[in-house]
Symmetry: C2
Subunit: 376 residues, 2 copies
Amino acid sequence: MSASFNYSLMATDGLARAGVIRTTRGDIATPAFMPVGTAGTVKGMLPESVRATGADILLGNTYHLMLRPGAERVARLGGLHRFMNWDGPILTDSGGFQVMSLSGLRKLTEAGVTFRSHVDGSRHELSPERSMEIQALLGSDIVMAFDECPALPADRARLAESMRLSMRWAARSREAFGDRPGHALFGIQQGGLERDLREESAEALRAIGFDGYAIGGLAVGEGQEAMFECLDYAPGMLPEDRPRYLMGVGKPDDIVGAVKRGVDMMDCVLPSRSGRTGQAWTRRGQVNLKNARHADDPRPLDEDCTCPACRGYSRAYLHHVYRSGEMIAGMLLTWHNLHYYQELMAGMRAAITGGRFAAWETEFHAARAEGDIAPL
Amino acid sequence: MSASFNYSLMATDGLARAGVIRTTRGDIATPAFMPVGTAGTVKGMLPESVRATGADILLGNTYHLMLRPGAERVARLGGLHRFMNWDGPILTDSGGFQVMSLSGLRKLTEAGVTFRSHVDGSRHELSPERSMEIQALLGSDIVMAFDECPALPADRARLAESMRLSMRWAARSREAFGDRPGHALFGIQQGGLERDLREESAEALRAIGFDGYAIGGLAVGEGQEAMFECLDYAPGMLPEDRPRYLMGVGKPDDIVGAVKRGVDMMDCVLPSRSGRTGQAWTRRGQVNLKNARHADDPRPLDEDCTCPACRGYSRAYLHHVYRSGEMIAGMLLTWHNLHYYQELMAGMRAAITGGRFAAWETEFHAARAEGDIAPL
């Protein structure tokens, strides 16, 4: 790890870990949830509002930004932080996952992948070298190695082949990344749900050496039970003195289960996407504000929540503005959801530090089991 | 005027007036621009952000709110201020104008108007009595008399007939409004572009007696020149010791021209609607952020503007997020536009108070004549 990027493990409770990642742009308390700012904005939020929810770090998407507005353009404009007015740390993904899920007409070779933009059909290519270049142009603080991520279920031969390609790409990513003080490079473990492939992948990554290690290839349709089974062993294969990042996870109970199993960082579009579709996440589970039961309900979404949506508005209001297609519905519900996610992380950090994670987890599940408050 | 609602004329410069309207929910510095919060929200803005732009008062739409979520529901939920989390004064229109412009299948009689909702086709009626009831249920601070507003051009006979109906409705509105301490009722002058009809209407309204007087039936397609011609005489027909409100106006130069002619209050959806369609208003006129010339422009929209959009973001960013369909585009541009409008009003208030309105107006037009900054 470079002097300007380091991870300190502060406390453990079972396998759960609390720590701090120090970057030149500020500290990241872990376990950390990273809101997703796909195309240079966390949808529906001003960056100062994202900060106010307690977020220490944002995620940006290489795939989206390379297509629009373009990495070279962002660089000319002073980098992604300045462009999107966020001065905290930014992690960028490598683009590999989204090429697979979003683009049309892909061609995958040892060299990399060529594809057509989902925005305008234009032809592009990504490779470990180009992905490192783009992430450097964006000015990302935490750069992800370029990998291939197969959809699950996939047969073992396909998984093995894909994982080994990703490991060769990881080595090329490391080589292309070079020495960039103040910037970190994370490797990504692959191998699907095959334990030995996960081990082989972890060994390959450790041999290359990264500033942090991600667990990739999960949350792609395998279900929570299968994911947790994999997380029962996968984090332990990665170096204890580096942050461990589970990519693309997840629902609140996914996150709690991942932290319990030794994960330090996560990201997901769920809180912001849910917010735009009238869904709220609270201590008592999911609340669908579209539902007519809220139309006359003067109570806040969660009376104990201190976010602007819960302090200032009734369920009836949130229902009304969602039904009326008003922007403020997505703005308030996204804010609430991100606030809830950050409170969830803060609660876990405190519980781990206090050595009471198991009790905290019991309480977490008990509140959800109660379900939403009864209709009036 | 009730003791808890009054208007103080503080300064005049030519026909332009600076003053203060005092209400139980706070003072309104005039000339005042009222952002439009149609359905319980100024689109794309949190109310605290609207306040931060300098707005003293919001406008709410009776027509929209009666249809969804319903006036009785808003009343049960504690009134519109609480519902939408805005504790400053609210002016509500009477619903008359929007029944004419938005609803389907209308039937107009002496009693009032029956119509079908543009939301769900349900049947509703509005009358002076029902409009007063709805505006009371909403808890509006400034209530507008129920009127009919014919589209222009209209022949003189139609204008006269419509104006006289509106004056009979004004008397019924006054009667139905009754005595509501802390709440004001404004009458609305009609008469199209016919000076004698405007005079007849003003006399009828003065005979009834209102807390303030609106100029209705303008900004409905007649053009700025014709509107200014009417404003050369219409405000002077209304009592000098009461606020004068020009409904539904307008573009910045419309507003300046109206203030110059003695108008104290205005409202318009333009700054918020423009913001959502990539249009910005600045001292140098209109800027279309959709235009490709902004794609690489690192400069702010207006380097002298202190709004969040101008302090934190480049034109290139605003262009990018607009093109990408991101909510933040409408959020930032609406904020900027409302901020600009409020600065415009503050500039005029200071100029009137300082007795230099003519010089201010020359400067206003000179900056606009220069046009936007040159492309890089």
